[in-house]
């Protein structure tokens, strides 16, 4: 509350004539009942933010000044998928994944192998890498799923680091050079809109999912796993489903990345893919699903501008991440949503 409000509460009524009043709108009734479509204003109240977001995302490729920035939009999309996955796992299932690059790496290498060794076109490699990679990642992480606590974070942290070293040391899968000459997309518009559509579908799909029955179970796993267990549901099974969804998003991103850059290298396991999604989630607002996407739209272009600084970029994200988690753990979208649902006005005391 502001100063005026506090003073009023202390009883210094004579000194102040006005105070700020805040009213929360009746979100429940406005969004769920028939009231939501009672007037154009109410429809707009609900639909406008979503429409603006969707239109904004779809118009982005036209607004970019150069092909380079179109490429940046694609990268934003990849990070957006990772961040959505991270937010979903962390805030709806209670699993903190520190290894987004595992998903990118597995998906990317699978797509590259399918393309180079079997000669499949991106039309087949991307879905295959998405599904196959998601299954593979889920199996890799499975041992940590029956456990509570930090094990999930530790296991996901270790896989990319270790896989990086294995590929580097054994010189398999092209070693440090990577798999070169992967097929590219037939057309830049296909390339651009594929990722944007997938991001939009993933965003709204996940928003729907977490409010379905299975979403309630996910939240139950996060908040009170004993209760879920007491209901006769297997926690490991539901966690595995959640990990599968997240890794599918990440593996799609990886496969897509490999096809736009036409190379699957060891850098797919780079720390950037693990840190930026977390930073974007913390900045954008955890648990909102939109927030992390927005965070990516803020962070990734900045990261591109800082490309000249090399690994200093990771320092930059880490410091931002640390600062936000310590001082502003709420994030942009949580704040924005609250303000959107509030009336503020000055009233006479």
């Amino acid at each position: 509350m502001n100063d005026d409000g506090r003073k009023t509460m202390n009883g210094e009524i004579g000194a102040i004539e006005r105070r700020k009043e805040r009213l929360d709108r009746g979100i429940k009734v406005r969004t769920e009942g028939i009231y939501a479509i009672s007037s154009w204003e109410e429809v707009a109240y609900l639909a406008l933010p979503r429409l603006i977001l969707i239109l904004g995302i779809l118009l982005l490729p036209f607004l970019m000044p150069s092909l380079y920035w179109n490429r940046v939009i694609s990268i934003v999309g990849i990070y957006g998928l990772l961040a959505l996955g991270f937010d979903f796992l962390a805030h709806y299932v209670g699993l903190v994944s520190l290894g987004g690059s595992l998903f990118i790496g597995v998906g990317g290498y699978l797509a590259a192998i399918l393309n180079k060794s079997f000669g499949l076109s991106p039309l087949f490699t991307i879905p295959a890498a998405t599904l196959g990679g998601a299954i593979l990642c889920t199996l890799l992480i499975l041992p940590a799923l029956p456990l509570r606590g930090v094990y999930f974070a530790i296991v996901t942290l270790m896989y990319p680091l270790v896989l990086f070293r294995i590929i580097e040391a054994l010189n398999i899968l092209g070693g440090t050079d990577g798999i070169l000459g992967v097929a590219s997309f037939p057309n830049p518009w296909v390339e651009q809109y594929l990722i944007l559509f997938v991001v939009i579908i993933a965003l709204f799909g996940l928003r729907r999912l977490v409010n379905e029955d299975i979403g309630l179970v996910f939240r139950g796993v996060k908040d009170n796993d004993q209760a879920v267990k007491a209901s006769g549901l297997s926690i490991t099974y539901y966690k595995a489903i959640a990990v599968f969804i997240t890794s599918a998003l990440g593996c799609f991103g990886g496969a897509y990345f490999v096809h736009i850059y036409m190379v699957a290298g060891i850098s797919l396991f780079a720390l950037d893919y693990s840190v930026i999604p977390i930073a974007a989630t913390v900045i954008g607002g955890g648990g909102t699903l939109v927030g992390p996407l927005l965070g990516c739209f803020i962070l990734v272009p900045i990261s591109e501008l800082l490309r000249a600084f090399g690994t200093l970029r990771i320092v930059f994200y880490s410091v931002i991440l640390l600062a936000f988690i310590m001082f502003r753990s709420e994030g942009i979208m949580v704040y924005a949503q609250r303000k959107y649902h509030q009336f503020e006005r000055w009233v006479k005391v």
Binding site: A153, L161, I166, F309, L312, I325
Partner: protein, 300 residues
């Protein structure tokens, strides 16, 4: 026939001696993490970063400020203790109790430090610490540097000290009490924040001791930060949280398996051993070899 029998004997002695040395190195790396995470339940994912900073700090003190080696080491350890306390006081205390945020905050901190060092170009052959005593001895026909003997000696001393500290010292007992039941410990007059500060300071000093003992054997590289973190976590999980015996046993198991892998398979599988050890432990016995604390709570 003669040749066939003599070569494996040498290899066996090699494995035995270097296995012991490697195990004590692991124990040294992991003991700080075990104290902080295993005993006091503060996930300090900046452990590896502290290890690497200590190395660079001692290097800077010795070669840039031209201080005496012993003084540099003591000074660096003191600074690391303060750094550890500061990490708790300024970072961890704000996110205490939120396991997710604790991990992310400390990991981000470690990452920031390590990647900053990498950016500054702290890598390559130039950054090495001097060994404590030059020379080598020959045991059973195998020459061993004195530094490696010192690793074993310091390992034994540190482990014994920590065991005694957490079993017979009031502060040490309080640390264990905090991990077992924070509320009960607070009711008995244990100041939880103060204990956490002590744990973090000691953990950082232990990481520093490990760095100073182990880094003279090779170069100071930023990658070591990640490796040390992974190995410490592996030792901690395989051994079971809150158990010194388990941690030491785990260090020996992982240490010997690593050396055997290097000898018989390929030296690159060094890190894979740690990962596999964690995975196998999580599948077979999630609470670790000797983990008694909160055994049921870890498993859903």
């Amino acid at each position: 026939m003669f040749h066939r029998s003599i070569i494996p004997v040498f290899l066996l002695m090699d494995i035995l001696i270097y296995g012991i040395i490697n195990s004590f190195s692991l124990a040294l790396m992991a003991i700080g993490f075990t104290l902080v995470y295993g005993i006091s339940r503060l996930p300090n994912f900046a452990h590896g970063a502290i290890y690497v900073i200590t190395g660079f700090l001692v290097w800077s003190l010795v070669y840039l400020l031209k201080l005496n080696y012993v003084i540099s080491i003591l000074l660096a350890l003191m600074i690391m203790g303060l750094v550890g306390a500061a990490i708790y006081r300024f970072v961890l205390i704000r996110v205490r109790g939120m396991a997710t945020s604790e991990i992310i905050a400390t990991y981000a901190l470690g990452l920031a430090v390590l990647e900053f060092l990498r950016w500054r170009g702290f890598k390559g052959m130039t950054y090495t610490l001097p060994v404590f005593i030059e020379g080598s001895v020959t045991i059973a026909g195998i020459p061993i540097d004195l530094q490696r003997i010192i690793v074993i000696a310091i390992g034994i001393v540190v482990v014994t000290f920590m065991w005694l500290f957490t079993h017979f010292n009031k502060t040490g007992l309080a640390l264990r009490g905090m991990a077992q039941d924070e509320h009960a410990a607070m009711m008995l007059g244990i100041d939880s924040d103060w204990m956490a500060i002590i744990a973090m300071a000691m953990g950082s000093i232990l990481a520093g001791i490990a760095a100073i003992t182990l880094l003279p054997l090779g170069n100071i590289v930023v990658e070591a930060g990640y490796n040390v973190l992974i190995l410490s976590i592996a030792v901690c999980i395989v051994g079971g949280l809150g158990s010194w015996v388990g941690a030491i046993l785990a260090a020996f198991m992982i240490g010997f398996v690593q050396i055997i892998t290097v000898a018989y398979i390929q030296s690159h599988f060094h890190m894979v051993v740690a990962l596999l050890a964690i995975i196998i432990t999580l599948i077979l016995r999630p609470s670790g070899l000797f983990g008694k604390q909160k055994e049921l709570e870890e498993r859903v």
